[in-house]
Subunit: 94 residues, 10 copies
Amino acid sequence: MLFKVEMTVNIPASLPAEQADEIKAKEKAYSQRLQREGKWLHIWRVVGQYANVSIFDVADNQELHLLLTGLPLYPYMDISVQPLCAHPSSIHNA
Amino acid sequence: MLFKVEMTVNIPASLPAEQADEIKAKEKAYSQRLQREGKWLHIWRVVGQYANVSIFDVADNQELHLLLTGLPLYPYMDISVQPLCAHPSSIHNA
Amino acid sequence: MLFKVEMTVNIPASLPAEQADEIKAKEKAYSQRLQREGKWLHIWRVVGQYANVSIFDVADNQELHLLLTGLPLYPYMDISVQPLCAHPSSIHNA
Amino acid sequence: MLFKVEMTVNIPASLPAEQADEIKAKEKAYSQRLQREGKWLHIWRVVGQYANVSIFDVADNQELHLLLTGLPLYPYMDISVQPLCAHPSSIHNA
Amino acid sequence: MLFKVEMTVNIPASLPAEQADEIKAKEKAYSQRLQREGKWLHIWRVVGQYANVSIFDVADNQELHLLLTGLPLYPYMDISVQPLCAHPSSIHNA
Amino acid sequence: MLFKVEMTVNIPASLPAEQADEIKAKEKAYSQRLQREGKWLHIWRVVGQYANVSIFDVADNQELHLLLTGLPLYPYMDISVQPLCAHPSSIHNA
Amino acid sequence: MLFKVEMTVNIPASLPAEQADEIKAKEKAYSQRLQREGKWLHIWRVVGQYANVSIFDVADNQELHLLLTGLPLYPYMDISVQPLCAHPSSIHNA
Amino acid sequence: MLFKVEMTVNIPASLPAEQADEIKAKEKAYSQRLQREGKWLHIWRVVGQYANVSIFDVADNQELHLLLTGLPLYPYMDISVQPLCAHPSSIHNA
Amino acid sequence: MLFKVEMTVNIPASLPAEQADEIKAKEKAYSQRLQREGKWLHIWRVVGQYANVSIFDVADNQELHLLLTGLPLYPYMDISVQPLCAHPSSIHNA
Amino acid sequence: MLFKVEMTVNIPASLPAEQADEIKAKEKAYSQRLQREGKWLHIWRVVGQYANVSIFDVADNQELHLLLTGLPLYPYMDISVQPLCAHPSSIHNA
């Protein structure tokens, strides 16, 4: 089941750089694990912003919520979620 | 070069159903041709709306503009375009 | 799987009253069938507006899209969809 | 008398974690007491957000205001309230 | 139980003037009847606009919905509703 | 001359509780004095918010500005002002 | 008593040009009469738009409402009103 | 050449009162000097807000930018600028 | 004197295609004449939209207003204007 | 390939002036280097704001992202990006 998720990161200036780097490293590992498991299908950088556009493929809403709130950068993110489904014109639905 | 494109369709009630169906058939063929050519990478339906979220892979801005304004449903669409690029956490960039 | 769906109805003045009444009757029957099937859990009227707040319980995004686009009043509706999941404070989750 | 209430929680980073946990525990107990009393009919988590969609059933506006401002997390919440009433298509009104 | 209701009237140019005048006359009579019954406490004109700010005092949400949807000008109105309650600084609460 | 004034209060967490209480006490006395003088006709609490909807009756714009900027809580308020006048349907204008 | 009034004109394409010209001529005469009477202090064109920024000097809210709703172009205008008063830095207040 | 400029002042609570008063005194002197030079034609207070509506008459865009960024309160202001020109209905254009 | 002007074109479906084409041809000629005169410095197409971003270099606000309202497509345009000036980092200011 | 980029700078008051000046000097040098390389075609100041409107000419989205995130003031900027292409009326396309 597919969802578009848009995440914008706002790390406060008061967070020590070392701590921020540690969280970002965890974020990257977390993201790549979910990508390899086939749950985080796509992640693209939005040009000029500390933000991404992502596509998730999950079993249900509950799993998506757990994956998103488990993001190491979650406390510093604005997240919007939009449910998607198959488009009748897609050649991948035939 | 990747772009997220979001399209919302508003076909006026005054358009005869037969004419609308003809345009939609052309739109589907047009979309599927671009998908097969690898320029329209993804198209998903937004749940509950006559709208889609798409990813285009084009040579440059000019090509994207030509592809979008060539859509048979273009006169009835609201379109927003967001340039994307590789995300450092993507496993597809390694 | 739960979704909050908000629907606002805008029937154009140009639609003949008889035809509008027929569509509304179909809408009511359609809604009540889905309620009896347990897919449309709740529907409340928004005070002062031709609008409702609803809760759907569906198998997946695709089913929700089919149910919503099948609404007899769908061509005259603005629809927004928000995915929900269990709240840890709910007494219905124990 | 029914109301849809949407609450978004913003706990400032400056609040010590221990104190935040204490408030959250009180919030959960408070919410569950109101749910058992039949005043807080539903509470759902919004996917990907520290937010909920709730339905309250109260005697009047005054009671709703007292219940909401009594929330232990109230000082950290954005709250919106929308009055609801019976929908003519609901099968629960017959 | 008090509500602030804001109404903005948009009568389409296509409505014949005679018919519009008839509806406005009915609206005035309807409003004044509710004012005399003590349900429509206040109505003020917004300066420079075909709009009003009103205060209703009703038994419950359902009654407010019935009163508002019964307005002769209802089909041509944008309506927003905000539940109110006693303010602790009001001298009318002592 | 009537104005609708909407005030939303945002007291920063950094303000000591004792000082906040003192300001609120002054605010209440100030408000009640103006109510008794017939300048602050109505004050209602907005359900679920630290906000009010008020009606002022003042000699002119200048007096309203002085009354509002004299509010003890003024530095912590968002204020919006809307000029009102008699509505032709009001039974209080006859 | 001063007010800033912003007016945007939207004359529908369906209004015959001759009729539109007649209304505009009446509008100009109406505006200039009020300017000569000292009630419409200033009127400036917004660059690139069929809109103006105006300053009115009236006895009270009621008079302003009558002047604005008496505008020949009133049925085709969006109007916003903002009450003004003397600024302590103005050299015209000394 | 005329511009409408709207300024809203937000002095942070952390600025010592003495320093704020000094800046405000400089602001007043600066504003009055420009008014006497005929560059700052009008300044009005927005009722209920720490904000003003102003009209500037300057040689060109560059001069306006220099005047605005030279405001002693500039670092604490939100500023919006709208270019104006002569209105054909103005009696001051004849 | 520089201005950024953004224009979005909305030609109504009711305008006959032949008439629309005639207006567009006039628009192109008008635009190119102003470009050759050095008053319309730049015009770019916004990707995916019937809209442009333009830079004008004019003597004053009045001239810009005359140029914009003289556009053959003006009755079908939404226009926004933003005054610009020299940037201290520009290498063209040295 | 052309993009319109709008940047608004918000330097927090907590940043020491000396450090801010150093960053601004680096920003100016960085900007001028890109201008000389032909990648940052235009930069204009928005009148009355610490903001600019810029036109970039880059090889692709990725390069634009690298240039923008490399801005010394990037951590203090709000940035919006809009892809542009040739306009059929431009005299520079012949």
